[in-house]
Symmetry: C2
C-alpha cells in the first residue's frame, strides 16, 4: 500500500519549511561572519519574517489537518514515513505552543542582542549589553511558560526538551549526582598526578592564515567536503547549514594553535553528523539530527575522544610541522598528549578540559535557571557569574570576557541548551566505548589519518538513523545498554588516572 495523498502533501509542506530553514542558516552565518555591524536591524527584520513564516507553516490549520488525515491513513506508511509523521507532529506541537508575535519579537531581540554581545566583547563593557540580554530573557521566560503549559512540563523542562528531546531536568540532575560524587576527587588526583610529570609549555606566534591552512588539511582528512562547505572565523565557533552547504567557523589565538584547531575540529564533528544524515530524508524532519544532545555528542566524540588521543596526535604531528614549522621536544606526541589532556581550572568554558567542563556547565545550568526564574537580573549577571565561578571552579574570571560574556548562547536565546552538553558528553563516551570494542584496529587507523572506519561505524549506528528513534533507543541499539554515567566514570578514570 502506498503513502496517502495527505502524507505526500505533508512532505511537500515540510520540504518548503526545510528550504526556509536553510535560508535562515545562511542569513545567520552571514550575520556572524560577514554582515556589517550596522545592518543588524535590517537583518533582524528578515530573520523575523522568515522565522514567522516557518512558524506559520507548522501551525497552519492545513498542516494540522494533513497530520490528522495522514494519521488516520497510516496503515500504508513504511517505518521511516511513520517516524517522519511522528516528528512532524512533534514539531507542530512545539510550534503550536508559541504565538507568532512572540516568535517574531524574540527573533528581532536576539539579532540585536547578538550584535551587542559582539560589541560588548570588543569594548569589554557588559552594561551596554545587559538591557539587550534582559529583553531576550524576558521574552524567553514568556516562551518557556507557554511551552510548558502546552506540553505539560515545568517552564525550564520545556526549554530543555527542545534541545534534548524527552530528557527532563530530573534526568540531568540524576546524572550530575553520579558524576558529581566522583568528580572532585578525580580532578584533584589527576592534577596531582600530572604535577609530577608536567608537560613542556607550547609557545610561539602562529599567523591566522597558517592556522587556517592546518585546520583545512585536518578537516579534509576527516572528510569535510570543501566543495560543499567553508571554514571561516567568528567570535565563537559554530556550524550552520546542512549537508550540501556546511558553514563551519572557528577563532584563532595568535599565541597557540590549539584553540583554533580544536574549535574547527569540534565543529567538524557537528558537520560530519549533518553529512551522515540519511540523504533521502534530508529535507524531512526524520532526516534531521536527533536534537542538540546527540549533536553535541558527535562534536565531543571527535574533539575529546579522537583528537585528544595519542593515535590522532601521531597523525597530527607532521601537519603541525608542515603548517606551523614547529619542532622540538614540546611538539612530540607524548608531550602534546599531556598538554592537551592536562586538567586545569580555567575561567573559559572553551579552554576547559573534560573534567572541569562539568563545573562550567553546572554553573550555567544554575545561572540560567535563576535568570529565567527572575531571582537574578541580567544587570547583576557579572557579579553572580563571578561568585558562582569562584564556588564551582575555585577561581574568579579576570574580566567579563572570561566570565559572563564568553558564550553567545544566551544572547541568541539559547536557554536549556547547556545541559545538552553534559548529556552529549555522556552519550559520546558510551558510544566511544562500544566503537573501540567493535573496531579493533581503530588506533592504527587514526594514527595514519584514516577515518573511514570511524565514520562508517558512526554513520551506521548514529548519523544514518536521523531522528528515526529517541535518543535512548538509539543509544541502546548502538551500545546494547541504556544511557548511564557508568561508562563516563570508567573512561575518566582510565584516561586521567593512568600511571605516568
Amino acid at each position: 500500500m502506498a503513502a496517502s495523498p495527505p502524507y505526500r502533501q505533508l512532505e511537500e509542506e515540510f520540504r518548503r519549511l526545510h528550504a526556509f530553514r536553510g535560508a535562515l542558516a545562511t542569513l545567520r552565518w552571514d550575520a556572524a561572519v560577514m554582515m556589517p555591524r550596522g545592518s543588524a536591524e535590517v537583518r533582524g527584520e528578515q530573520l523575523a519574517a522568515l522565522e514567522t513564516e516557518c512558524h506559520a507553516i507548522l501551525t497552519s490549520p492545513k498542516v494540522s489537518r494533513l497530520i490528522d488525515r495522514s494519521q488516520a491513513n497510516s496503515q500504508g506508511l513504511e517505518d521511516w514515513q511513520l517516524a517522519n509523521l511522528r516528528e512532524m507532529r512533534r514539531q507542530r506541537d512545539h510550534a503550536l505552543a508559541m504565538p507568532n508575535a512572540l516568535v517574531a519579537r524574540l527573533a528581532k531581540a536576539s539579532a540585536r542582542a547578538e550584535v551587542q554581545w559582539t560589541e560588548a566583547r570588543r569594548t569589554q563593557n557588559f552594561a551596554d549589553f545587559a538591557p539587550h540580554l534582559a529583553e531576550v530573557v524576558a521574552l524567553t521566560r514568556d516562551r518557556a511558560a507557554l511551552l510548558g503549559q502546552h506540553l505539560g512540563l515545568a517552564p525550564y523542562d520545556a526549554l530543555v526538551d527542545e534541545f534534548s528531546p524527552g530528557v527532563l531536568t530530573a534526568d540531568i540532575d540524576g546524572m550530575f549526582k553520579v558524576l558529581g560524587r566522583r568528580l572532585p576527587m578525580l580532578i584533584r588526583e589527576s592534577i596531582e598526578l600530572q604535577a609530577v610529570k608536567p608537560s613542556l609549555p607550547i609557545t610561539g606566534k602562529f599567523a591566522a592564515s597558517k592556522q587556517k591552512a592546518l585546520c583545512v588539511e585536518a578537516m579534509k582528512a576527516l572528510g569535510f567536503p570543501f566543495d560543499r562547505g567553508r571554514l571561516d572565523e567568528s567570535e565563537h565557533p559554530f556550524t550552520e547549514g546542512m549537508a550540501g552547504d556546511l558553514r563551519v567557523t572557528t577563532r584563532f589565538e595568535p599565541n597557540e594553535p590549539f584553540t583554533g584547531l580544536l574549535g574547527a575540529l569540534h565543529e567538524t564533528g557537528h558537520a560530519m553528523y549533518d553529512l551522515g544524515l540519511p540523504a533521502e530524508w534530508r529535507d524531512q524532519p526524520v532526516g534531521r539530527n536527533r536534537g542538540m544532545a546527540l549533536e553535541e555528542s558527535q562534536s565531543l566524540l571527535i574533539e575529546m575522544m579522537v583528537v585528544h588521543s595519542r593515535p590522532f596526535l601521531t597523525f597530527l604531528k607532521p601537519l603541525l610541522d608542515k603548517h606551523l614549522g614547529v619542532s622540538g621536544p614540546e611538539w612530540e606526541v607524548e608531550n602534546l598528549y599531556r598538554h592537551l589532556t592536562r586538567v586545569h581550572r580555567s575561567s573559559l568554558r572553551a579552554d576547559a578540559d573534560e573534567l572541569t567542563y562539568q563545573a562550567h556547565i553546572m554553573l550555567r545550568f544554575e545561572l540560567e535557571q535563576s535568570l529565567l526564574g527572575g531571582d537574578l537580573k541580567a544587570a547583576d549577571l557579572p557579579a553572580a557569574w563571578n561568585a558562582a565561578a569562584e564556588r564551582r571552579l575555585g577561581l574568579a574570571p579576570a574580566n567579563d570576557l572570561e566570565g559572563c560574556l564568553q558564550d553567545i548562547h544566551w544572547a541568541v536565546g539559547q536557554f536549556g541548551y547547556f545541559p545538552a552538553h553534559v548529556l552529549g558528553g555522556l552519550i559520546a563516551i558510551q558510544l566511544w566505548e562500544k566503537l573501540r570494542g567493535d573496531q579493533e584496529t581503530l588506533d592504527e587507523e587514526l594514527a595514519r589519518g584514516d577515518f573511514t572506519g570511524l565514520f562508517a561505524w558512526l554513520r551506521q549506528h548514529v548519523h544514518g538513523v536521523g531522528a528515526k528513534m529517541t535518543v535512548q533507543d538509539l543509544i541502546k541499539e548502538a551500545t546494547g545498554r541504556p544511557l548511564s554515567a557508568a561508562p563516563a566514570l570508567r573512561y575518566f578514570e582510565a584516561k586521567y588516572l593512568e600511571p605516568r
Copy 2:
C-alpha cells in the same frame, strides 16, 4: 482623514514581502561571493522557495482584495500613499501574469546556470554552459509570452517593461535612431583626434589588497557607509541589498587599477541611489528604486560623468599615489583623463567607453531578441556573438570570455535588461547637464573630494523621489524637459571632440 484599515494591512503585507526580498538579496550575494560551488543545488531550492513565497504574497486573493478595498477608500490617502497603492497594484499585475511553478523553475534553473557560467569562465568551455543557458532561455520565453499576454504587450516589450517601466521597444528604437545617425562619425573623429595626442600607457602590477584599499577610500569619500555595507570580489561587479545592508562587489585586474576602481565606483552609484531612497518608505513599493533604467542612470552618472572628469581625477591622484605608490607623467591628471576617456574598440562591454558602449548594447539587444524568438539556439551563441561583434564593433572577440561569456545577466534570466543601459545613459546625461547648471561650484567641490552638493541635488531630484513618479515625469520635473537624445549629442560632442 486617515488611511483605511485595508490600506494599512496592505502595507503590512508588503513589509513582509520586503523582508523576504532582503533575505533573497543576501542569499544571492552569498551565492556569488561566498558559497562553495557544490552548494548550488541546495541554494537553488532555497531561492526557489523564497521567490515562490514572494510571488504567493503578490498573487494572493487577500492582497487583491485589500487593493480593491483600498482603492474604493482612497479618498483618505495622501500623495505618497496613493503612489504606493499604484505601485502595489503594478507589482501585483506583473506577478499575476506568472504561475508559481514557472517562477520556481526559473529560480532553480538560474541558480544552476549562474554556477555553470562561473565554471565555464574558469574552464573557457562554453559548451558546458550552453544547455543551462538554453533552459533559462526556454523558461524566459514562456515567461515573456505569459507576461505579454497579461499586460497586452509583445513578449519582448513585456520583459523590457520590467526593467524600464513604461518604456517600449519602439521608444528605445527611436532613441537609437537619433544617436545612431551621429555616432559612427563621432567615434571615428574622436579616435582620429585622440591619435594626434595619444595618452601615455598605464602599466604596473597592483596587488588586489592595495586596489581594494584604494576603492574603499574612494567609496568612503563618496559617502558609502561601510558600517552598513561591504565591498567584496566577484566574477562580475554587482550591488545587492538595500540601504541598511549594501553589498557591492567588483573584480580586480592585476595589471591595471581602473577595472577594479571603476567597477566599485559604478556600483557605488547604485548603492548611493538605494541609500538616498525615501527612508520612511523603505519597506514599501513606492520607496524602492524606479526601475533599472533609472538605477543604471545613477551608476553611469557617477562612473562616466563624475569619475571620468578632470576635477575628480584631481581628487583621485593623491589616492592613487598613496595606495599604489605610483608617480610619473602617466599618472598626471591630464594623462589619466585622456587614458580614461580614450575611445577604442574593445570586445568587453566592461572595458568599453561611452561611445562604443552603444554598439555593445545594440549587439545584446539584437541577440537576446533572437534567442527568445527562437531564431538563435543557445549552442550557436558563440558564433552569432562573434559575427555580430565583427559587424557592430569591427572586431571579433579573442575567446568566449571576451565574447558571449562576459556578462552574467542572461545566465540569471535577465533579458530585457540591456536596453535599460542605453536609456540609463541618456537619463544620466540629461540630469548631469541640469545638475551642472544648478551647481556652479561643482567642479571645485569634486576636485577637493566634496560630494555633498552632488548627492544633495541627486537626493532632492532623483533618489528621494523613490517610485513616486514615472521615469518620464521625474526627468521632466528634475530637468524641465522631457527625456530626449539631444543632451547626449551635446555632451558627446563637447567631451570627445574638444580641441586637444
